[in-house]
């Protein structure tokens, strides 16, 4: 795909630019890793008091956290800067992007690309390595395959949510905060078992903003737990379909927003 190629070419150029200041790059990356580690510590702290949380022990919750952290971290790593769309519209940099022969989405996503964005992914990956051997489950081939598939689909769902949130800024330039409540808020929400939030929240994140498919539903299959909402078995395998549908929706909304910009110029 031409867009993926352009993304990689530009990411390499940005990386080379960032790497000219190795110390600053290392410190920024470390500070990001540190910030992300704090949520792991919060989970461990919670379990100092309660050994089991709504049927999930420390290992289970760390596993859920790791899946969520990886999905959001990877989406943020590759596409997080699309939330800057409003700024690009306001300052006119969107116009300069429009006169270049690369997709605007790619240009915004790769803008200021730096490996320090991996800061959120690293602690999640370490946590996953720590949690996997401590899970009390029957590791069938299907369950093993489900782990990378969940990370992949989760990242795709989060990417779609980032892009959908950003597209709102074509209509309301100040929409960033509202979108953040879903992106960052969603990331924080899915770090814990959804069952602790009660049925209403679970319904919302299953049927309205499908965050439940980032980690919760696939994890129910991997950990072999019953669904508190009593949803049918196949829902646990719906993440790829949800990801594809959501990405298609994001692409459509983005394109509509771009077309609107071309007719109004603001």
């Amino acid at each position: 795909m031409a867009e993926a190629g352009a993304y990689l070419r530009l990411a390499a150029a940005w990386f080379r630019s960032a790497a000219q200041y190795p110390l600053s790059l290392a410190l920024l990356t470390l500070s990001q890793v540190g910030a992300a580690m704090s949520s792991v510590l919060a989970i461990v702290f919670v379990f100092g008091h309660a050994r089991v949380l709504s049927g999930f022990d420390l290992g289970d919750v760390l596993f859920l956290y790791a899946l969520s952290g990886l999905a959001f971290g990877l989406a943020d790593f590759a596409f997080g800067s699309v939330e800057q769309l409003g700024t690009h519209i306001r300052t006119g940099t969107l116009d300069t992007m429009l006169v270049r022969p690369v997709s605007v989405l790619v240009q915004i996503a790769v803008d200021r690309f730096s490996p320090r964005r991996l800061g959120k992914v690293v602690p999640a990956a370490i946590t996953l390595c720590y949690a996997l051997p401590r899970l009390d489950t029957d590791w069938t081939p299907a369950r093993i395959a489900m782990v990378p598939a969940t990370v992949l689909c989760g990242a795709a769902i989060c990417t779609a949510i980032w892009i959908l949130g950003a597209s709102l800024q074509f209509y309301v330039t100040e929409a960033r905060e509202a979108a953040n409540s879903v992106t960052y808020g969603g990331s924080a929400l899915t770090e814990y078992p959804l069952s602790i939030y009660g049925q209403d929240v679970m319904r919302v994140v299953t049927f309205v903003v499908p965050l439940a498919f980032v980690n919760w539903q696939p994890a129910l299959f991997i950990l072999d737990r019953p669904d508190p909402l009593g949803l049918p078995e196949w829902v646990r395998f719906a993440a790829p379909a949800v990801a594809v549908a959501l990405l298609a929706c994001a692409a459509l909304v983005w394109r509509t927003g771009m077309r609107r910009y071309a007719s109004t110029g603001s």
Partner: protein
């Protein structure tokens, strides 16, 4: 590719209407159609240098944005380098270079060199070709000392030279410049003009530029188009425009001490402010200057060329167009 004689820009009845939605009473919303550009028709042939002039709010930027594919026209037919800009924006980007004088297309935090490297990857210019072209542009624009400087630390003139380099690295056949000399000092202005003239003469690069600076037009543009109220009001050379709307030059005289209005033939005092007097010149400034300096003790003298805005304003005063549509946006005449 287009045939060599085919126009680079071919606009036929191009128009752009914005729809303004306003909340009236309660939740009712009224839509007003505001024409920014209406029925603009012109062609630009390869190798031409065209000045696109007009007062603020006349539709210059809107036209430019349609030409480069940022905005979709609401009427007419537009072809640039044989392509339909809004629909084939990406393909068109390879063939045109765009410079916005008011904002940079470079990356604020990156050294110039890194910005150029990013652009090479965007336009997929082979490394050897890129190096050769960059070397040439860096030499012509004397950019070598700033290549490692982040863009935010560059002066406006240095930045503009960087922007020109960025716009030309992929060797476009059409260069579109929006106010390329705005805010520049005299030396930088001259450097930018010389460079553009050279690009046009040696490479045959077609240039379309908007400007408020008569100097730009005089030194660069063999052809001038004036747009006002969204329509092309004049298309010809600068001499033709001046003949149509003559605007006298002004002599600003600073006398050693305040005095009654100077009375010399060939000049008329239009304003006084303490020891300073403004004289509108009817003919040869040399004769007037000689006469004034003979009659008075003078501290300073400045000869002020008419601003392009003055010429355009005059053009409209001379030939008011009753069929002109309602004023699009707010029209401010920037007369210094």
């Amino acid at each position: 590719m287009t045939a060599p004689s085919a126009p680079v820009i071919d606009a036929e009845g191009v128009g752009k209407e914005f729809v303004l939605r306003r909340r009236t009473r309660g939740l009712r919303r009224a839509a007003t159609r505001v024409p920014a550009v209406s029925e603009v028709s012109f062609t630009v042939r390869p190798g031409e240098t065209v000045g696109y002039l007009g007062p603020n709010g006349a539709g210059k930027s809107t036209t430019l944005k349609m030409l480069v594919g940022i905005l979709t026209p609401t009427a007419g037919r537009l072809r640039v380098a044989g392509l339909e800009p809004a629909r084939q924006r990406t393909e068109l980007a390879y063939r045109i270079g765009v410079v916005f004088g008011q904002r940079t297309t470079l990356w604020w935090d990156l050294p110039l060199r890194d910005s150029f490297a990013l652009l090479r990857r965007m336009y997929r210019v082979p490394a050897a070709e890129h190096r050769a072209r960059l070397e040439e542009l860096v030499e012509l624009l004397e950019l070598a000392p700033f290549l490692a400087t982040p863009v935010r630390q560059l002066s406006l003139g240095q930045r503009m030279r960087g922007d020109l380099t960025a716009a030309l690295l992929h060797d476009p056949s059409l260069l579109v410049l929006d106010e390329p000399t705005i805010g520049l000092d005299v030396v930088s202005k001259a450097a930018v003009r010389d460079f553009l003239r050279r690009m046009n003469a040696e490479r045959g690069t077609t240039i379309l530029l908007t400007t408020h600076d008569l100097g730009d037009v005089e030194r660069l543009c063999r052809r001038v188009m004036v747009i006002d109220h969204g329509r092309v009001a004049f298309d010809g050379d600068l001499a033709g425009l001046r003949a149509l709307a003559p605007v006298p030059r002004t002599l600003v005289v600073d006398l050693a001490a305040p005095a009654p209005p100077i009375d010399v033939p060939g000049a008329r005092v239009i304003r006084t402010d303490g020891p300073r007097q403004w004289l509108e010149l009817a003919g040869n400034p040399a004769a007037v200057i000689a006469r004034v300096s003979h009659d008075h003790e003078i501290a300073d003298l400045t000869l002020r060329e008419p601003d392009i805005e003055d010429v355009v304003t005059r053009l409209y005063r001379e030939r008011p167009d009753p069929s002109a549509p309602a004023i699009a946006g707010d029209v401010r005449h920037n007369v210094e």
